[in-house]
């Protein structure tokens, strides 16, 4: 507790010059988040929930610096028709962003939102608070308490083009905290794209409330800066017959912890969460997923693939919790890693916790090297070693990439992964 208090006071000091959102609902959410922080404390490396990932550098004040990585790669999603919203080191960049008006959706900034934004009052910090049990995720509470900005997106219709959040990293010492809230009314649809390294250290929370029959698609690429650190939380609440699909591609980065907390509260809802990460060297990537089935006939799917080399570490902690009464649940979870050399590590804890009998839940987890037989097969057909390895690696990642709805995006992500593999070979 002493340590948490220390962090909190130094955080208060650090954020003293920041202008925190002052709407009544934001202020009360902040007070509640601070009290959660005080009760639960910040994560500690001895916490079971942080068994495989050390939280120290995510908490440490000030944030460890990270050099900006310059590359000439064309930014992702560049050719798509989309509404661009740019944050530089966590600060909204009005000039680089498009006008925030789009049919079927109302977009506001947390920093400047109206004070009587009733829907935000019921969402901001609320899913995060609910997500503190059964395991505390206090870095998310920390976010609610100290977020300066973010987006409040209210979807009232099917939105014609994706909203694209672009996170640029320009300062070696930036410590960005963003908090987004997205509410989808019944029957609406929205796609959100996110890409970029964001900051030297990035703490992001996204709360998504999906109404009856609504569909939310999310595709994220966590950028190429080698030294950046990120802790992100996605809290989603699904109503009846709604759809939630999220895919994340992570290349590089020193430390990434992506938590996804999904609650299926309406019957016949569908939640898919998938991710690929490719890491070389000083790379630690943690996917922590917690899916709660609290309604009848819901389907959930978790597909995570990791390619690791030169001592890179991949972590997967996934849980399917089926509450009493959540009958006809279909829960699936797979986590696999491909270790390209001797030094890499894969640490996994795929969990099932089931209190209903009429369910079909399964999980699988594998880890190993590239299949020598498959490699031999390709080599025997005249494909050079490197190319054959890449081909097999891409095939390994494909099951997760397949979770992306759009073919265009699928192709673009695959070509990025291909390029990464080409760069990172012996």
């Amino acid at each position: 507790m002493a340590e948490a208090a220390l962090s909190r006071s130094s955080a208060t000091e650090l954020t003293a010059d920041r202008k925190l959102p002052d709407q009544p609902w934001a202020r009360s959410a902040r007070v509640e988040a601070l009290s959660r922080l005080d009760t639960l404390g910040l994560p500690h490396r001895r916490d079971e929930y942080w068994k495989f990932t050390r939280p120290d550098t995510l908490i440490q004040m000030p944030a460890p610096s990270a050099a900006v990585f310059h590359n000439d790669e064309k930014p992702l999603f560049d050719d798509m028709d989309r509404l661009r919203i740019v944050f530089v080191d966590g600060v909204f960049d009005e000039n680089a962003s498009d006008d925030l008006t789009l049919e079927g959706v109302k977009i506001e900034r947390l920093a400047t939102a109206q004070s009587d934004l009733h829907w935000a009052k019921d969402l901001y910090g609320k899913l995060e608070a609910a997500g503190q049990t059964p395991v505390p995720r206090t870095l998310a509470a920390f976010n609610t308490a100290y977020a300066e900005d973010g987006l409040l997106i209210h979807v009232t219709d099917k939105v014609s083009k994706p909203i694209s959040l672009i996170y640029t990293h320009e300062s070696d010492s930036s410590d960005a905290i963003l908090h987004h809230c997205i509410k989808l009314d019944a029957g609406t649809e929205l796609t959100v794209l996110e890409n970029g390294p964001a900051a030297a250290r990035f703490n992001k929370v996204m709360e998504v409330d999906i109404g009856d029959g609504a569909a939310f698609h999310h595709v994220r690429a966590q950028g190429r800066d080698h030294e950046r650190r990120a802790v992100t939380h996605m809290f989603a609440r699904l109503s009846a017959e709604s759809v939630f699909k999220s895919f994340t591609m992570t290349v590089n980065g020193k430390l990434t912890r992506n938590e996804c907390v999904i609650e299926l509260t309406g019957d016949d809802a569908t939640a898919h969460v998938a991710g690929v990460c490719v890491g070389d060297g000083d790379f630690h990537h943690d996917d922590t997923v917690f899916v709660t089935h609290d309604a009848v006939g819901c389907e959930s799917r978790q597909v995570f693939k990791k390619v690791l080399r030169n001592g890179a570490v991949g972590v997967f902690q996934g849980k399917i919790l089926v509450k009493n009464g959540a009958q006809k649940t279909d829960g699936y979870q797979i986590s696999q890693s491909l270790l390209l050399d001797e030094d890499s590590q894969f640490l996994a804890k795929p969990e099932l916790e089931i209190y209903a009998d009429d369910v079909a839940c399964s999980h699988g987890s594998t880890s190993g090297a590239i299949d020598e037989d498959a490699l031999f097969y390709l080599r025997a057909r005249g494909i050079p070693q490197n190319e054959a390895t890449n081909l097999l690696t891409l095939a390994f990642l494909a099951e997760a990439v397949e979770e992306v709805q759009s073919d265009v995006l699928k192709e673009e992500l695959t070509s990025r992964l291909d390029a990464w593999l080409a760069r990172h070979r012996d």
Binding site: Q345, L347, P350, L352, I354, V359, S362, S365, S367
Partner: protein, 504 residues
């Protein structure tokens, strides 16, 4: 079963038949026998007393006292998914033995007939008869092939060990651990605590301080133990904890198959059982360890039952050593048990087959650890969990591939079956892979008893409970097949009995 509960149209024969098999827990009776207790509670004096009663040398007393000191500093683990009222460790008897055992009987003929009757009622023959009673078809087998040597432990003391002479001719030492401490101190001293260190965990430390008896097995190099060895644990006394300690050493190139069974009377108060089993397997040796755990599970409202906190670990020290754990866990109110394998020698192998059945208010948190240290080590885990009533059943396991365990292999399969909507089935596997030439595969499924299979059985005239028992036995098949025959039969029947009352 109350007569008023019988549904219309069910004839008396069925009711009687069900009553016959059922009666829930079969071994709930107790033996009325005069006991000698150590005073309640745990103090250094009690530890010394236990050591004294067992006529132990000083080094053993010191070992226990050190364990006691360590225990005082340890905290009871709380991470398992089990929930039980706090145990008052000072409100237990740590030593209880039948008065008739005060003078150690020289042979089985001198053992109190009451004790012998207890075991024969349990179906455990202490006469040196060739076959275990109650096994169908066993009579037709050549008697020579089916010999089983039994060590019977009653509360805190070993009542007797059969076939000792014949085993000794083969060079196998099979006796109670108290006897081994007296007769073979060099072996005990060398191996005791070398697999499960004194301060390994709260219950193991407690056990190290107060263990009263248990079994000791030493199989010398190159010897294939001529018969199955078996220990039968019986808790009889009230408010008494049983803390047994088993030490098995399989020297180079040897083989032994060991069976363990346990029961306890039906009582309203919960009782504590904290055992430690250590197995040392040297080069090319193989040990099979099978358990049918049938401690009293408590009644359907969760009253009474044994708290079963057990540390079991096998250390494959030599190359090509092999260990196989098979367990059928049907009893106990609370189970906390993770038989583990340390695969230290190159090419060593560990296997874990488990059936855990939790019915009514039972809680089971069980699984295994496979620690791969040596090259080309292999492990296989097959776990079948069945939950019924309001029970909670958790598989918790660890597969760890160390950086040096090149080209190792693990396969894990955990299946859970739920019967009824108020129970829970959970899977908590930890997988740690630190080299790339090893392959680790983990699979888990959770489902309910298949309606189609039930319908098939029902339409052929089986009643619902029978049909469920059949389907469950099918679900457990992989594990049942790994058991030695005597146990497989008992286990199959146990599976049916444990699920009694879970349907409808």
């Amino acid at each position: 079963m109350d007569d008023t509960l019988v549904k219309d149209g069910v004839d008396q024969e069925t009711v009687d038949a069900v009553r016959e098999v059922g009666g829930a827990y079969k071994h709930g009776w107790s033996t009325d026998i005069e006991m000698e207790y150590a005073p309640k509670g745990l103090t250094p004096d009690i530890v010394k007393l236990i050591s004294e009663k067992n006529e132990e040398p000083q080094w053993m007393t010191d070992w226990r006292l050190e364990a006691y000191e360590r225990w005082l500093t340890k905290k009871e683990p709380d991470w398992a998914m089990v929930d039980y009222p706090e145990i008052d460790f000072q409100d237990q008897y740590y030593y209880a033995r039948p008065k008739s055992m005060m003078v150690k009987p020289k042979s089985l003929d001198e053992v109190d007939p009451k004790l012998l009757a207890t075991y024969s009622k349990l179906g455990i023959p202490l006469q040196e008869q060739a076959i275990l009673a109650g096994v169908e078809g066993a009579g037709e087998m050549p008697a020579e092939a089916r010999k089983v040597a039994v060590d019977a432990v009653f509360d805190s003391v070993s009542v007797g060990t059969t076939f000792q002479k014949e085993l000794l001719e083969a060079g196998v030492i099979f006796c109670s651990i108290s006897e081994a401490i007296r007769e073979h101190p060099e072996l005990v001293r060398k191996y005791l605590g070398s697999v499960v260190p004194v301060s390994d965990n709260f219950y193991a430390t407690l056990n190290s301080a107060v263990f009263s008896d248990g079994s000791f097995v030493y199989v010398p190099p190159g010897v294939r133990c001529p018969m199955e060895l078996s220990t039968y644990f019986r808790i009889n006394a009230e408010n008494t904890g049983q803390f047994e300690r088993t030490l098995i050493i399989a020297d180079k190139g040897s083989y032994v198959s060991y069976l363990e069974g346990c029961t306890a009377p039906q009582r309203d108060e919960s009782q504590l059982h904290a055992a430690v089993v250590e197995i040392i397997i040297e080069e090319d040796a193989e040990v099979k360890y099978s358990t049918v755990q049938n401690w009293y599970p408590g009644d359907e409202n969760g009253k009474g039952g044994i708290y079963n906190f057990v540390t079991k670990r096998a250390d494959c020290r030599g190359d090509r050593a092999k260990v196989m754990w098979t367990q059928v866990e049907t009893g106990s109110a609370v189970t906390w048990k993770y038989p583990s394998c340390i695969l230290r020698g190159d090419d060593s192998q560990g296997e874990f087959y488990s059936i855990a059945i939790a019915n009514n208010m039972q809680q089971a948190d069980t699984g295994t650890k496979m620690i791969h240290l040596g090259k080309r080590t292999k492990s296989r885990i097959v776990s079948k969990g069945i939950s019924a009533g309001k029970a909670q059943n958790t598989y918790r396991g660890l597969v760890s591939m160390h950086p040096k365990a090149k080209e190792s292999r693990n396969y894990t399969q955990c299946d859970s079956l739920l019967i009824g909507s108020e129970c829970g089935a959970h899977t908590v596997p930890y997988i740690e892979v630190k080299n790339n030439s090893s392959r680790v595969e983990h699979e888990a499924t959770t489902s309910k008893v298949d309606d189609d299979q039930l319908f098939y059985c029902r339409s052929r005239g089986m009643d619902e409970e029978e049909a469920v028992a059949l389907v469950v036995n099918g679900f457990c098949k992989d594990v049942l097949q790994a058991l030695p025959m005597e146990f497989a039969m008992e286990a199959q029947q146990l599976v049916a009995i444990s699920l009694e009352g879970s349907v409808g």
